[in-house]
Structure formats: structure tokens, C-alpha cells
Symmetry: C2
Subunit: 373 residues, 2 copies
């Protein structure tokens, strides 16, 4: 495993890979993976048309359920509605119905390489279902901590894949605390999709695919619902690797959408104070993260990429979910619909201008969540 | 539209294409599409790596939600369990969560070519959800007749895509009667996934993809849950076209799985009498078709391809659904799990022998149906 290291982009700390390290041991910032040799260890994962560096020794090590390689579709009526050329990348068409499968595939494959047999994770639902499925395929026993507000379809998924579900009566943050405590007590790795650098190595394939599918016709703007930022930061890393390799010369503006109910990133971007106690309930459960551990990294990418943060109201999310279904035949979960609500506001505010070309990931399947009222 | 005709394989009747004809006007057998010119009108649909003849004038006519191009995955623990090399093609990873999207894409595209604005369909759920989604994308208003036993997630889908749902308190057959009556009274086309020859032109892409993905390493046996046979007959037509074009020299044995609760095909294969009154409730709603209009065609393909029919019990279906999830990380609906239950019986009976290579389509997402008890 000498061809890559764990790397802190904040203080430049480095260490050898390990199943148990998820934060910089000096400054406590969440870490990334850095490749030592380039490009000798790139390979083409089964799910992609392109090669990319991955933290696996050989492609046979990839534990796959058929993730990635999701279609890009034109959104004609949405484009007409907002007056901007808009396309969608259908991330909900992943094996467990959300983009998380990209991250889980690489994280679980790496943990299997370390010969890990049992792990702990906490999730509002999608990541838990995804990690349960890949755990099942890998023969790794998974303990998934979920808040008691998790929608039933996501709990059903977690259970049928054979995971042990620990339901926590408390906030999303208290669920994380309970998972951390359990990991400490049992000595099992804390395989957090929010922290593991392997998870981001998985989501970066989104960027490689966009480039492979669109070539020189790249979007000018990408609009992403952001809670923890695992897709957001993953695509940033992927686009950066493509620039470093000389394939791309620039990176699209990467915009964040948050629910007004839970908006730590939006407030941090404006240098305003915000605490988890300010959070109110939201139907966009996938981005209801009140203290995102990678907040500082998201703010940095927002600044460098020229992206902006937009917040959306609950009714706007509900309306956008119905618009996506009725105009485009795309049934996304409320979290995914938040991107469309955000697009409408960003075009109204002229942050996204006429002549732009917008891409939205549709991050999760509508079947996984409560229905709009 | 002179490059293809409607064709009755039973009595050789032919006619020009029409949105309103779904059966042979002479012998009442459901019809197929026959191409006049070959191969000048083949083209590559967006969803596929291969070209195939399609009943559309140009590829721009295709109304797509990103269907097809589904992954094939190895099923290591299932292979171990049954002692036969088994792979799965993940048809549930289609835009609305079932293989029906292949058929809907072509059927709705053809109806849009005919400038149709409103259609009638009846469905136990999946086809209705699929046709609603493609109707939404095409701007075609859809009336979906469903039995009152349809699972809630499928009804939710039908509704969110903006279809008019007509719920019928009665059997699946009574639902069909009600849809037919409504089509007659309103003059709208009866766009039935069970009868439309366009639907089968869509599902045939399954065969083209299997060949494109596996090449010379083709399966010896394919095991398919069969109700109406739209996937079964579609893949048969696709494989036959590949033989006619000289790409393939033989076709895999195509086996049917039915629930013991609703087994018209199994009984017909044994020349035993069976009536809709013999049907009992089954969790495999997608194959609960007690009087399949294409029954004779399915029996013919079974005979020619060397396939067999196997019936499975309700407990076997439930157990197989859990096995698929826990062994392979694949959460299929009960109808899909019936294929695995069937595989176990076919290997026990030595109908499928050691050294065979089996492919199973996983036809629908588990999120779309009731959970196992």
C-alpha cells in the first residue's frame, strides 16, 4: 500500500493508510488520499469508461454492485422554465438508489483489503443503506446508527441487507456521538461516510464520468445539494485530478444548495454564526447536517471554484420535487429536488446567467423517502 | 413509416403501423413488428453500446429517461449456494426502478411520433409507473388503471408523475376490462404493455446488451420471472435478430419462473387446465397474471429455446428475497426474487446442470413493493 498516503490539506500532515484513522492527528481536520506514484497506479474500475487513480492495489479488489456510469439526460422543460440549458446526471440510478454507492464501493473495498470484518457507521439513511449493501457483498458486518426520524424505506433497506440497525432517539449529532462511543467501546473501525478519505475517492468518479460523457461540452455550473459535502468534495477532487493530468483546463463553478432549516454552510459563507440549536425540521433529510465535519473544506472549494450557496424553503423543495416528476419524469427524493429549487433562485438572482450550461446531480430516488404532502 | 409493419406470427397477417391496433385483425393474436428494410434503419439508441433496428425514424425521436445499459454483476455467494456460475443483470437500475422502462421508452416514443396526446393503460404497478414517467417526459397524458391491491410505493410513483390513477376494486383481469371499456368510450389508444408490439421492441434491447457485455462468454441459461412475458418475448426477439444478423449462432435456454399461486404458463406447458379462478394471492405481484394474452407465444419460445417452467411457493420467494439482499447486496422486489427461488429448484432437479452459466435479470427494485414479513 505504499503508492498512496493519508494527507491533511490543512496542515500537510501525512501518514500511512489505516482502517482506523479518519482525521489528521495534528490538527484534527478530516483527511484526503494523496497518490505517491503517478500515473502507474491508475486503473479503470468496472463502472467507468475512464481510468483514474484509486486506493486499491488492483481492479479485482473492487467490490462492486454495479455503481456509477449513470446517465446524463436533457431537461427540456426545466430548461424552458429557468431559461438556462439544464441537464441532469441521474445518480439515483445507483444500486441502492443514491450517489453514496460510489463512495461505499471504494470505502468497503479498502476496508476489505485491510481484512476488516465489522464496522460502525452513522447516517440519516442513504449512506447507511448503501454501506449495508456493500458490507453484505463483502461479508463485512455493519452496525448502522440512525436517528429515529429516518424514513421507513431507508430503514427497510438497512435491515434487509442484514445490517444491525441501532436507532437513536435524538438528533443527527447525537446519533454520531452514539456511533463514535460504540466504535470506541468495541474497537471496530468507525467507517464514516462523512470522514473516511476512501469515501471521497469513490465519489470523485462523478467528475471523471461527466468529463467522459460530455467532453469539451462541459457544464459551466454544477448545482449540488450539500449536507456533509461528500459528493461536493469528491467531484472537486476528481475535477482537480483531471486538471493536473492536463485533461481539463478549468473546473465548473460548484454551487451548494442547503435547506433554510439547516444552513451551516450558507451562514459560514457569510461569516454569520450558526449553531445546531438553530436547526428546524426539513424534508430534505439527506442534507440535514447541522455540524458538517468538512465545513471548512466546502467553504474553501466554494471560494476557489467561484460557486455560491443558496438556501431553499420547505415549500420550494416540495414544489421542485413535483416539477421534476411531472416535467421530466424524474422522481427524486426531496434532497435531490432541493437542487432544482436552488437553480430557480440562482437564475432569478442572476448568479447563473443566460448562456450558462447547468448540470444537476439527482442524488437519491424518491421511493426512498416520504411522499410530498 | 414504410420501413416496418405490424405482423402476426401466428397467421402471417400484416398491416401498416397504427397507434390503435394491438392485435391481429384476423386471428386476434397479439402482434409483433417486422422490418422491411434491413439493416438501413438500424441505429444506436442513447442507452446502448450496440445498434439495433427500432421502429423510430431517427434516434432523435427517442424519448429517454436514461433507461437500459444496466450492469451485469457476478453473484459469488449465490453461485456457491446453487453450485452453478451465476450472474445478475440489474434491470431494477432503470429510471423508474424496473425493466419496464425499456418497453415504455420505445412505446411512448412511437406514440409521440403518431402525435398521440392521451392514452389508457392497466398495470399491477410497475408498468403503470413506468408509462406515467415516460408520458410525463413526452407530454402525453396517461390514465393508469390499477387493481386496489397495488402496493403504495408504485401508486405513489404513478401519482407523482402526474398520471390519472383509476383504482379498480376487483381482480387484475377486471382492471384490464375497465381500462378497455374506458379506451373504447373515450377513443383514446389502449397503450397496453402486454399487447403493444412497440413495448416488446423496447425490451429486446436486453438481449443486445447481454451480447454486447458478455460477447462470446454468453450464458447457457437465462431465468426470467414471467407474467405476461414482455421481457421474455422481447429478449427472444432480440436474440433472434442477433442470430439472423450472423452475430450469434445460438440462443440461451430461456426458463420461466411463475408463482405457484398464479401459474397459467406452467399448467399450459403440461397441457393441464387452469382458469383465473384457480389463482390465489401472491407476493410476486409483477407476475400475478392469470390470463396472459401472449401465453401461446411464451409456450412456443419455451419449446424452441429448450427452456422449462418452474413454479415457486410464497415462502421460497420471501426467502430468496432475503438471500439476494444478504448474500449479494441486491434488494429486488419479490417478483425478482422468484427467479432465484426458481434457480434453486431447477438446479436441484438437474434441469440446469453443473457447468452451466446462468444469468438472472433482477427485474424490479425492492423499494417498490411490500417488505418481506
Amino acid at each position: 500500500l505504499s503508492f498512496y498516503k493519508f494527507h491533511c490539506t490543512y496542515c500537510s500532515w501525512e501518514s500511512s493508510p489505516s482502517a482506523n484513522v479518519v482525521k489528521c492527528e495534528t490538527c484534527k481536520d478530516p483527511i484526503f488520499i494523496k497518490y505517491m506514484e503517478n500515473p502507474s497506479n491508475t486503473f479503470q474500475p468496472s463502472y467507468s469508461n475512464v481510468t483514474m487513480p484509486l486506493p486499491l492495489t488492483k481492479s479485482d479488489d473492487l467490490i462492486t454492485l454495479g455503481e456509477g456510469n449513470t446517465p446524463i439526460v436533457k431537461m427540456n422543460r426545466v430548461s424552458e422554465m429557468v431559461g438556462i440549458d439544464t441537464i441532469g446526471k441521474l445518480e439515483y440510478m445507483n444500486p441502492t438508489g443514491s450517489f453514496k454507492d460510489r463512495g461505499s464501493a471504494i470505502m468497503i473495498s479498502a476496508l476489505a483489503d485491510f481484512n476488516i470484518k465489522e464496522i460502525v457507521e452513522d447516517s440519516s439513511g442513504n449512506a447507511g443503506a448503501s454501506i449495508s449493501a456493500y458490507g453484505a457483498k463483502a461479508g463485512i458486518k455493519t452496525h448502522i446508527f440512525t436517528p429515529s426520524t429516518t424514513p421507513l424505506p431507508k430503514l427497510n433497506q438497512i435491515n434487509i441487507y442484514g445490517a444491525v440497525n441501532h436507532s437513536i432517539s435524538g438528533t443527527r449529532d447525537e446519533t454520531t456521538e452514539a456511533a463514535l462511543k460504540y466504535a470506541r467501546e468495541t474497537g471496530m473501525p468507525y467507517a464514516s461516510h462523512n470522514l473516511s478519505p476512501y469515501f471521497i475517492e469513490g465519489t470523485k468518479s462523478f467528475a471523471y464520468e461527466v468529463y467522459s460523457q460530455l467532453g469539451l461540452d462541459m457544464p459551466t455550473d454544477i448545482i449540488i445539494p450539500v449536507g456533509n459535502g461528500s459528493l461536493y468534495l469528491g467531484m472537486w477532487k476528481g475535477f482537480n485530478e483531471l486538471v493536473d493530468n492536463g485533461e481539463l483546463t478549468s473546473i465548473p463553478r460548484l454551487h451548494c444548495v442547503q435547506a433554510r432549516a439547516v444552513m451551516p454552510i450558507a451562514m459560514a459563507m457569510e461569516n454569520k454564526s450558526w449553531t445546531p440549536a438553530d436547526a428546524t425540521p426539513t424534508r430534505a433529510g439527506g442534507i440535514a447536517v447541522s455540524s458538517p465535519p468538512r465545513l471548512g473544506q466546502v467553504i474553501k472549494v466554494l471560494t476557489i471554484s467561484g460557486g455560491s450557496v443558496i438556501t431553499v424553503e420547505e415549500e420550494e423543495i416540495g414544489q421542485a420535487q413535483i416539477q421534476l416528476s411531472r416535467y421530466e419524469g424524474i422522481f427524486g427524493e426531496p434532497t435531490s429536488a432541493a437542487a432544482l429549487a436552488g437553480l430557480q433562485k440562482l437564475t432569478q438572482k442572476k448568479v447563473i446567467k443566460s448562456g450558462s450550461k447547468v448540470l444537476m446531480p439527482i442524488t437519491g430516488f424518491g421511493l426512498k423517502d416520504k411522499m410530498p404532502e
